[in-house]
């Protein structure tokens, strides 16, 4: 079931954001539910330049996050981490081979949220996507619920 939800979300982005993906590097957050918890899917729309990214997602009070699969879909040369601390999810990763995510929508991973009642304010902040020279190329993000 979880795989179906994730696949459906990715399918949505793949089908619905093709034009955007060709011109924008940005963080894509999408929320689905899986029984008692919600699944926050993290994807990156890349023009083929994104070599690193970082952002934070503040969560409503009382919400808990399991970040163990946060970067699970990234290419193996990407290193980084996710942490749920001080009421926010912090996500950071970079290619240790100075590679880049392929053009299009790239799966990053999933964060499981528990206790989420109102997702209307869910948004990424401090967004930075950068190229393999360490230069920022975008600070865009989009949340789909």
């Amino acid at each position: 079931m979880k795989k179906l939800i994730s696949a459906a979300l990715i399918g949505f982005f793949a089908a619905g954001t093709v034009a955007m993906a060709e011109t924008d590097d940005q963080v894509l957050l999408s929320l689905g539910s899986a029984k008692a918890s919600s699944a926050l899917s993290i994807d990156i729309s890349s023009t083929g330049q994104t070599s690193a990214f970082s952002f934070v997602v503040p969560l409503p009070a009382g919400v808990k996050a399991d970040t163990s699969a946060c970067l699970s879909k990234l290419p193996k040369d990407f290193k980084g981490g996710c942490k749920f601390v001080d009421g926010e999810i912090r996500v950071i990763a970079f290619s240790e081979k100075l590679g880049a995510l392929p053009a299009g929508v790239n799966q990053v991973g999933i964060v499981r949220l528990s206790g989420l009642k109102d997702a209307s304010g869910l948004k990424a902040y401090q967004v930075e996507l950068s190229n393999n020279q360490g230069q920022a190329i975008s600070s865009k993000s989009m949340t789909v619920q």
Binding site: K83, F94, G134
Partner: protein
């Protein structure tokens, strides 16, 4: 060094770096004077010079290798910050002096390195402050001095450049230095004994405001710590493209993969904002 930024208002106005504005040789030309054989260099020179910030730093290898800043004039308050790479030295040598007109016989500020500690003294007080340091590491040294007849002071902060939190703070107070003024600063191996080399970087002095520390791990000099900084570290290590900010996030004198890891950890612990 050929970069000297003049600050307006109440600042002493010496931000003395060691970097050239373009990818050319490093220089010491913005300092008032140089003594001995102190050099400015960068990590990819034939004789590599480790730097903490920007492209260049200064390296002293013998007693008498130092630079002089004559910007201060009759200063009754003085704040300075510099980064010091301890190297592997023996003996004790003065590495920073805030000097009055009396010269070496009356030092309002003296910072000495003996290989294991930085030792701080100020004229007008018998109190000595001793900050333990390790070999081959960068440290931020922050000083705030004020003159006063029994009310003078020297506030000292030492921070391992691989951390965001000071490792040593002490204020020498009740200093009887009402007639002292600072007329000159010296940085390097000014006097003393022993062997070994050490590096100096990012000197900043002001009359009243605090220079503060540079953003550790802000490798691309953007003012934040993000994934781009980790990439800049890897780009320097792999391709030799020197990062323009502070890529040596763990302060060990080398820009390597562990610095990228330090940046990742800093982001996860505190977010992208510099402390």
């Amino acid at each position: 060094m050929n970069s000297k930024k003049v600050l307006l208002g109440a600042a002493v106005s010496a931000v003395l770096l060691f970097a050239a504005p373009m990818a050319s040789a490093c220089a010491l030309s913005a300092w008032t004077a140089t003594n001995g054989t102190i050099i400015a260099g960068q990590p990819n020179d034939a004789t590599p010079v480790s730097r903490l910030s920007g492209l260049c730093a200064a390296r002293a290898a013998a007693i008498g290798d130092f630079v002089t800043d004559a910007s201060p004039t009759g200063e009754t308050t003085y704040q300075a910050r510099f980064y010091y790479y301890t190297g592997n030295v023996t003996g004790a040598r003065n590495v920073f002096e805030g000097r009055s007109a009396a010269g070496a016989s009356n030092l309002p500020i003296r910072v000495q390195h003996n290989g294991t500690s930085l030792i701080f003294n100020t004229n007008g007080s018998a109190t000595t402050a001793t900050a333990p340091v390790s070999a081959n590491r960068w440290y931020a040294v922050e000083l705030a001095w004020a003159a006063g007849a029994g009310t003078g002071s020297l506030a000292i902060t030492v921070t391992d450049a691989g951390t965001d939190t000071p490792s040593f703070t002490q204020t020498i107070g009740s200093v009887n230095n009402g007639s002292d003024t600072i007329e000159e600063a010296r940085l390097g191996f000014i006097s003393g004994t022993g062997t070994g080399a050490a590096n100096f970087d990012a000197f900043d002095s002001r009359r009243t405001t605090t220079p503060g520390r540079l953003c550790r791990g802000d490798a691309n000099n953007s003012g934040t710590r993000t994934g781009a900084d980790a990439t800049a570290v890897i780009n320097e290590f792999v391709n030799g493209v020197l990062a323009t900010g502070q890529p040596d996030a763990n302060g060990n004198g080398q820009v390597v993969g562990s610095d990228a890891s330090s940046i990742i950890t800093a982001f996860l612990n505190t977010g992208s904002a510099c402390p």
